[in-house]
Symmetry: C2
Subunit: 214 residues, 2 copies
DNA sequence: GAACAATCCCCTCTTTCGGGGGGAATTGCC
DNA sequence: GGCAATTCCCCCCGAAAGAGGGGATTGTTC
């Protein structure tokens, strides 16, 4: 591949890796990328481990990374990659507009955030924007602006998960070896964080935001 | 080795329509179909209305249909199509292995059920199997076997959704113009159906089984 | 027309929840 | 060092929830 040939449109292609655990969706993205002459696919994978390995081997210009994956998840993989390659440019993909991990992903250093139900033009815009050194954060994900607060501490998650399983505060206290009052304290903190009316509402919000496992 | 007319294939291609609200996934499926000479794409759409319209216009041999879609959802679209074309062969796609609508879809007359994280070979097998008049039901979707019982009536869903939104029984009663006691009666029925300990547990179970919208 | 599911209503009783206060130890970070 | 966040604990109290009964009315299905 020659160098000095052209300005503008004959730049070297943007090298891209795609990590997602859904084969069909992965193929869809690959198909979209294939229609663009300025984009080159250099690797695909289906979990966080593959993401790290592929990044090391290929050093893609942009990595598309799903958040919800088996084994090593997206946030973890991204953290590892950025620790090793701080210049890495990662575009995070997710299914839910209210995914609680969005904030984590941003803090971990993602260059962009895109919903999976985006149009192909949005995907392409996001890739090129990020490659140019910009960012691309889907409005739907952060439009609400109150997403920041929707995060739970490990202990709060424990409490809320047990509540979701049908335990009373007393039972939760017994299970976690706490006093019932302490559990109540956590519940109060959870309501405040999530803006929930009661424990039932809190579980609904937490599930919608991917904060607890059912 | 070949018969008379067509330069290549013996049988006419299987005509397929793809309905899914995620453009990227849709493109992925289309891309997979494009690699198979015996399959022909005759239409795509992103909601239940489009599904019905495309079925009427194209009469595809097999329709791939997502369950969770805006406006008219998958089950509703399928019901309408099958009412008009009882011979229609529909392969239902879904994201979650525990989707409660799976049962509804089967009852409504789906010819097959497939998880979105299937491999492309599974998708192709399912399409061909269904076209031959067979069925294809992903084991992961129906493994649990106790899904049957996990169903709510329309009114129960209304009540539980309002509960999930943080409403008290009194508030739910006001919203639905019922007495508080009636709402309590529904809650009792919901607990019994779902095997839930309390309203919080019920919401968690209902969400996991795709019985309510958050 | 009997059986059934779904829908709706009413009562009492005890437990639980959640709001309102408060404090205190530990950690990490600037 | 200071300071914020996290984790943990305690009090009171009114309102809500849930368990236990009891019904009635529609439909549909067999």
């Amino acid at each position: 591949m020659e160098t000095q040939l052209s300005p503008g449109d004959l730049d070297p292609p943007i090298r891209i890796a795609v990590i997602d655990d859904h084969p069909l969706l992965r193929d869809g993205i690959v198909a979209v990328l294939g229609t663009q002459p300025d984009l080159e696919l250099v690797g695909t994978g289906e979990d966080g481990e593959a993401a790290v390995r592929i990044y090391r081997e290929q050093r893609p210009d942009v990595m598309l990374l799903d958040l919800q994956m088996p084994n090593v998840d997206g946030v973890e993989a991204m953290t590892r990659i950025l620790a090793e390659f701080p210049e890495a440019r990662i575009l995070v993909l997710t299914t839910y507009s209210g995914d609680g991990r969005a904030t984590q992903a941003i803090k971990a250093g993602a260059s962009g955030y895109l919903l999976k139900n985006s149009l192909r033009t949005e995907l392409l815009d996001a890739i090129r924007s990020i490659h140019r050194g910009g960012t691309h954060f889907d409005r739907q994900v952060f439009g609400a602006a109150d997403r920041e607060a929707k995060r739970l501490t490990a202990r709060e998650s424990d409490v809320l998960e047990l509540a979701a399983a049908g335990n009373s505060n007393k039972q939760i206290a017994a299970r976690l070896s706490l006093s019932e009052d302490t559990v109540k304290g956590y519940m109060k903190a959870i309501f405040a964080r999530l803006g929930a009316m009661d424990r039932t509402h809190a579980v609904a919000i937490a599930v919608r935001n991917g904060l607890i496992e059912l």
